[in-house]
């Protein structure tokens, strides 16, 4: 990995002041910043290469198609999929998960079947299954967490049974930051004849992902959380499954042959990409992936761990601060949730903002998990490899000042 200060130059958004303070951007779990390479790639594409894909007979369209399909190859390689036909471009994680629920789920779930998820899921990996279960009169079961916030494998063994058809689980929690035992859950699912759907939104920009080694049948993630543009995401699906599934939306691009009475669907993945896709988004995402691969995901992971090993103990030992989840930095992939005394997270986030520290406050779209912690909301600080120790120090200092401010006040 290049020198960190050099690396930070790649992210122009870092170098501005916020509320007249140095900006410490600690909301990377919501969306990452974008390197110059990605921004430039989008500009170049729109300035010189823009054309529609899969339909033009002219050179420009042929080239745009080539770039779009090249992006698929790059992403296929990045997550160690077997075949680039297993890579479906989506709007993001949310759309990928909805796609699986409303195609595979719709086709395969019968009344009385069971869908098993964990209590830690982001709403986008919860509501599609909850609604599918309601539509099909199927049963939705939740795997509990241990007191440390980890997926309880013993409970998983009780919940995943021969009745289970789908297991859906997040790879990394966006609230607690811990890694789910995806491999073990995949084995349990497969042993019981179920498939496993993995929400990789918080994993792909922090740890190396190998969908085959994980045993994932589906794996969804968002470009914008991994240095790429908004509005582009990826759904990986095993080819045998994608081929059995009915289309998600209908229109151009996804058909083979259209008659007045009937139509034939295109091959995967085009079958799932109705309409003009986010071409520039895919091309920009490919550049983001190339950027990450140039750094090396092992190095990115090591850098994240170094930052977390610095920040977590400091936060834990700050008086009045309660950190949720594990006290082991290795169980916090980029994410720490905490509260300060009885202060409301919104009040805290406003105070930190005045000190230039950008964090998220709320339930982080994971209400069941946050409620299981015994609170309505938390403050969440989330790191990326381009953060530095100064960002961590700034957070700790701002927390001290926030405590001082409010102790002189209401609570």
């Amino acid at each position: 990995m290049p020198n960190l200060e050099q690396l930070r130059q790649d992210f122009p958004e870092l170098h501005q002041s916020m509320n007249d303070e140095r900006l410490a951007y600690l909301d990377n779990a919501a969306t990452s910043l974008k390197p110059v390479a990605v921004i430039k790639r989008l500009t170049t594409f729109y300035q010189h290469e823009n054309a529609n894909v899969h339909r033009g007979t002219y050179q420009l369209s042929f080239n745009a198609t080539k770039q779009y399909e090249r992006a698929r190859e790059i992403i296929c390689h990045f997550i160690s999929a077997r075949d680039s036909h297993e890579i479906v471009f989506t709007r993001g994680t949310t759309e990928g998960l909805n796609l699986v629920a409303s195609t595979y789920g719709e086709q395969n779930i019968q009344p009385g079947d069971e869908i098993v998820i964990t209590i830690a899921e982001h709403h986008s990996n919860l509501i599609p299954w909850q609604q599918l279960a309601l539509r099909k009169r199927a049963i939705l079961k939740y795997i509990n967490l241990t007191s440390n916030g980890e997926v309880d494998l013993d409970d998983a063994k009780r919940k995943i049974t021969a009745k289970t058809k789908i297991v859906a689980v997040t790879h990394v929690s966006n609230v607690l930051g811990n890694v789910s035992p995806v491999k073990e859950l995949a084995e349990l699912a497969h042993k019981n004849g179920a498939i496993i759907v993995v929400d990789g939104a918080q994993a792909v920009c922090h740890i190396p992902v190998d969908v085959q080694a994980l045993g994932a049948d589906f794996y969804a993630f968002s470009g914008h959380k991994m240095l790429g543009p908004t509005g582009i995401g990826v759904l990986y699906g095993k080819k045998v499954l994608l081929e059995q599934m009915s289309p998600y939306q209908f229109g151009g691009e996804m058909i083979e042959d259209v008659q007045l009475e009937n139509s034939e669907w295109a091959q995967v993945p085009q079958k799932f990409e109705a309409g003009t896709p986010n071409i520039a988004g895919a091309v920009g995402l490919a550049t983001a992936v190339e950027y990450l691969e140039r750094l090396g995901m092992e190095k990115v992971q090591a850098r994240d761990e170094e930052l977390m090993a610095y920040l977590l103990p400091r936060l834990v030992s700050t008086s009045g601060v309660k950190v949720y989840g594990s006290t082991d930095p290795k169980q916090h992939i980029g994410v720490i949730s905490f509260n300060i005394n009885a202060l409301h997270p919104h009040d805290v986030a406003t105070a930190l903002d005045m000190e230039g520290v950008a964090v998220r406050a709320g339930h982080h779209c994971a209400e069941p998990l946050v409620h299981s912690l015994g609170v309505n909301s938390t403050v969440r600080a989330s790191l990326a490899f381009y953060n530095n120790f100064a960002d961590c120090d700034q957070l700790i200092k701002a927390i001290e000042e926030t405590k001082e401010f409010f102790n002189g006040g209401a609570r």
């Binding site: 509320n19 007249d20 303070e21 409301h344 997270p345 919104h346 009040d347 986030a349 406003t350 105070a351 903002d353 005045m354 000190e355 230039g356 406050a361 709320g362 339930h363 209400e367 946050v370 309505n376 909301s377 000042e401 926030t402 401010f405 409010f406 006040g409 209401a410 609570r411």
Partner: protein, 151 residues
């Protein structure tokens, strides 16, 4: 900038209302009631009130979980609205909601807001406008949605 600017937002009167909220209860025999959620943080405000046959608000209370701003705002609202007629109350709530979306009102109208006048400083903190307005929206909705069946 630092925390100096925070003093603007967290005036003493706001901190007072938040730590000792007024009318913090569910009105027994409420005629109108509304629960609203702030979807960004999961906070909840339940507002309940009783209208008599003349359309006067004879009791009003709130419960729920929330930040300093949302709790103070709800407390201030109950102070202002108690004893007002339904129409007066709705007019005042409209002034507050208007200010929150940047519309201007005369100084005389703003005065009608009572303690809640200080909350107009919230415009300096766009991310917090929702916290301040939640109770006022709940009030408007409580009065404009179908009233509860008399029992």
């Amino acid at each position: 900038m630092g925390l100096d600017k925070l003093n603007q937002l967290y005036r003493a009167v706001i901190l007072d209302h938040a730590s000792n909220p007024h009318h913090h209860y569910v009105v027994p025999d409420a005629t109108n009631e509304k629960t609203l959620h702030n979807t960004t943080c999961g906070d909840t405000i339940n507002l309940s009130l009783r209208l008599d046959s003349n359309g006067t608000i004879t009791d009003i209370g709130f419960t729920g979980e929330g930040c300093t701003i949302s709790q103070a705002s709800a407390s201030m609202l109950t102070d202002v609205m108690l004893g007002k007629s339904r129409d007066e109350g709705l007019a005042i709530a409209k002034i507050f909601s208007d200010l929150a979306i940047g519309k201007e009102h005369s100084a005389k109208e703003v005065k009608l807001l009572g303690d809640a006048q200080v909350l107009t400083e919230i415009m300096e903190f766009p991310a917090r406008i929702k916290c301040a307005t939640l109770a006022w929206w709940a009030f408007q909705r409580a009065l404009s949605d179908e009233p509860r069946e008399e029992n």
